[in-house]
Subunit: 317 residues, 4 copies
């Protein structure tokens, strides 16, 4: 909640203005009116947080077209004391833009970041079969280049948000080949108490397996299943220090203050040589987490009371 008196907060994100990452950051109410720091890649964004240059960083974490997701996962595993505090979804849509007054029928050269270009091939083949590609260094640079004349292109592929920042003519919308593509972003800070549980939360951890033998993965997953916790993401990543050793990137349904999740996290901690807790935070889709009644907080509390009575020698209730 910024005020004139309070120092402003700094948010790092993959810039420049107009990227999908910026669109994710725009979904954060607390970030409005604060300092937005455009950086060149995920590593830089997280280093800003770890080293105190920024209060938070917005990074792509799944299905990104802005860059590699495994890079982000590996950085989160490597840099200590980072915490995810929020999750944001941004539809991956592209528009074709030109200079003000431009018309589709005049487009010959299309400026585009190569990855974005690859995602619009079908549309381009159908609507601009004669075009040629002029590579751009980002989804924003493509549009800026045609506006400032530094690119010879007639049109540029850019995110829909581009028109908020630049005076462009939108020639076509929804030109991406995959409808409904979405990139998932997370907002990362330094150590901080997790946001309050909402009932629609997820918890992210990175867990190293104790040894490379059949069975340890199973044993790790039992920490969740024996507490009725569902996983929405599991991904093995080579640890890199030796052949055949893996860590697992996991998103689990629920919040660290849920009894069953707290219990599972302690189980993981006891089991694994290295657990990185990345945070508990509200799901972007606000989908309420369902779980069997037998894993409710009350059941855990009741079991603790029961144990206490047994140890003290009281008769059963």
């Amino acid at each position: 909640m910024p005020s004139d008196a309070a120092p402003r907060r700094t948010y790092s994100y993959l810039g420049p203005a107009g990227t999908f990452t910026e669109a994710a950051l725009a979904q954060v109410p607390e970030a409005r009116g604060q300092i937005w720091r455009a950086v060149h890649n995920v590593g830089e964004a997280l280093a800003d947080v770890a080293e105190g240059r920024s209060d938070a960083a917005m990074i792509a974490i799944e299905n990104s077209i802005d860059g590699g997701v495994s890079t982000a996962q590996d950085a989160l595993a490597r840099i200590p004391n980072l915490r995810i505090v929020g999750e944001y979804l941004v539809p991956v849509e592209f528009v074709l833009v030109g200079r003000p007054g431009a018309r589709m029928e005049d487009v010959r050269l299309v400026s585009a970041h190569p990855v974005a270009y690859a995602q619009c091939l079908d549309w381009l083949a159908a609507h601009l079969p004669e075009h040629q590609h002029v590579p751009a260094s980002s989804n924003v640079a493509s549009a800026v280049g045609i506006l400032d004349g530094s690119s010879p292109a007639d049109a540029a592929i850019a995110p829909p948000g581009i028109s908020a920042h630049h005076e462009v003519e939108v020639l076509a919308e929804g030109i991406g080949d995959t409808a409904d593509a979405v990139t998932r972003f997370v907002l990362v800070t330094g150590p901080t108490p997790p946001p309050s549980p909402t009932g629609a939360d997820k918890t992210s951890v990175i867990v190293e397996l104790p040894e490379d033998r059949a069975g340890t993965l199973l044993e790790m997953l039992e920490q969740f299943s024996t507490r009725g916790i569902n996983l929405s993401l599991i991904q093995s990543r080579p640890i890199g220090d030796a052949l055949g050793r893996y860590r697992f990137v996991i998103d689990a349904d629920g919040h660290i203050v849920d009894e069953r999740m707290a219990d599972a996290l302690m189980g993981l901690r006891r089991f694994s040589p290295n657990v990185v807790f990345l945070g508990s935070y509200p799901r972007a889709d606000r989908a309420i987490v369902h779980y069997p009644d037998r894993y409710s907080d009350e059941v855990f509390v009741e079991a603790r009371d029961w144990l206490r009575a047994l140890i003290s020698g009281e008769p059963a209730a």
Copy 2:
């Protein structure tokens, strides 16, 4: 700790004096000089405790020749608020005794409880091929009968302890067909704090499975295995209220105040519609319980501290 001032304690056991159960009770230092109450069966002994007539009961719980073990297990499952506080092993040995001055070569009629008789058949066939069996109502009544003349027999099969109570001539020792046979007894009281852990403890529970479907037994056992706890006894018993429903009688290595056992018991409580905690108590064989380092108390405590730091937002240590 009896004194002249303190009221004496009462111990129920399967009598009369001279039974294997009495031999088990004789192993309890605290029972010396107290009131020993001989009863006719396990149900009576446990009812004495439950209804306050006795402070404790000694009952056979495994491999008994004095009577049915499943009877004892079912009674422990049914009668609430009983606690096992100690375990005792008694070798199941038999001696052949006669009246003072009797000699082997004169033995024709052998008095014996039918179950004991069946356990000495091989020896009798080899050494007294011509004998005949006179049934007795207990392993002690057999000997008493030949002494008081109420039995026509010349000799009796009895536990070795018989000579401490009655003036008999021991004609042969070790006449049981199974060497090394042992009966396991437990001492049962009302609700009381468990005896202090010794490092060589076991914990007994009776657990009802939630439903009769493949998998719940496994899920129940995972409560132990995921905490590194070994089981020394597991036995299914029909619950009796409906076809196909079972409860499980379990002895697990460790003590309720061990972190891993406490955690497992809470897991059981959450999982099962009905868990009967029968107690944590020193093993009769004093065998130290071994377990993987990762299940030590320290590991549990460390995991709790770690969780607490995460929730409070502290950086990792």
Copy 3:
């Protein structure tokens, strides 16, 4: 199907005529008109089969009052090449009988096998509070003794079947303290193909665990649960060759020719240092075995065909 031409078959059972075991044997249609060989205990009955003196033996296997069940289980584990081919239930009921013309009001001395006596204590306390017990060597010997005058008793406790073999006056029926008590018997032969599956079958095995570490029991049970097989009996038994080693007596729902059971048995065989297959046979209660569709024979056959196609390089169907 015996005929004049065919040699008669021999069945060993715990005798004499009139025992619960004989009542079990009487349920076997094939045993009618054959030689019934009364023996003194389970070990003798099984040895008769193993050594060719008998074609089959009927033995009590669960909740027996005629004798120890763990004895039977241990014998089945120890003696090779035995096969269970049938299961039979006998209600454990007792009657009080006297000599012809006897009357309840004259009964003072009651002859009874001590185990049977213990099971009728409540009834005796209520209806014959002044009686005294005269021990008998079996549930049949009690009645025979009052008939032939070798026992001083006025009445005897015996199984209901006694009146089929002896001229007795039934003084009271249903005098056992536990209503609905049932003993389970099995008919045991030498190696033979299992009886054809009926849809209501069970399979009995005795499985040794590979090592005494937490987890092997679980691993063993997974052989069943991962094939959708339910267990109706599981019981740990010390192996006896070293402290802390156990084997497990297991009854599983289904027949060895069911694909899922065959698969589970092979899994057990690969897992365990020692699996004793005791047989697949119809359940006494004729209860149809239910299992999830995904474990039906068709699913197994389909998976095999799929695998074969993959190995041969055929496209998927």
Copy 4:
């Protein structure tokens, strides 16, 4: 083995000549002298195989910098009847090249595909702090542009293989920020028998979970762990047809003709509504697969023989 007589085979790969994918294809002995068909993306390459335009396609499958790995995984899940027949590793290294005779000290403008550019940022900051970036459409186009004059740049970032195809001056080697980065490629064909087992094989599958409930993931993994099979890759991917449904991309150690793998695959098939078998093929690293003795082929064969003997009623060996 091409000859003048045999028709030549066609291999699709992400072109043009000089890409990392081409370097992977160059590792395939059978591909030498055949037709190499450069395509624009993974989808196109796999469609070539599925629709018969090519005999095989080389695609990046893990840690790619040439493009999205999840795209490849999703395409393999979607397009039926593809088979992986080989795995290849290509070190992800970059060189800085110029026109013949060029010198480092004259470099001001650097042409690079934006993803490659991001991977060399540290080196560029250290060695060419004053440079500016000119985006290129691929790792090969960057070098071609400076040679044919279509790019204003003085130098280009390219894979080391570039000098085999183009007359360039190598200005610096090993300029990537991550040492030891490797991309994993697979060679994909239509339905075909798997290559013969080498002892150092892996098996790739894509498995759909039956339902979104805690426990099915575990149940799926047990198909491997209960047969002693280790996994080297596991990755969840949203199925996309409904919220919260996942499929899993899995690499498992071993070959489909190994008994334990065949057994696991059949288990998966029975468990899952949809299993895509992608193939069994030699590991690129030729690392011999180790597994517990109890999962050897002999043990499986022995168990089958044992089962057969039981069903036929033979005595145990």
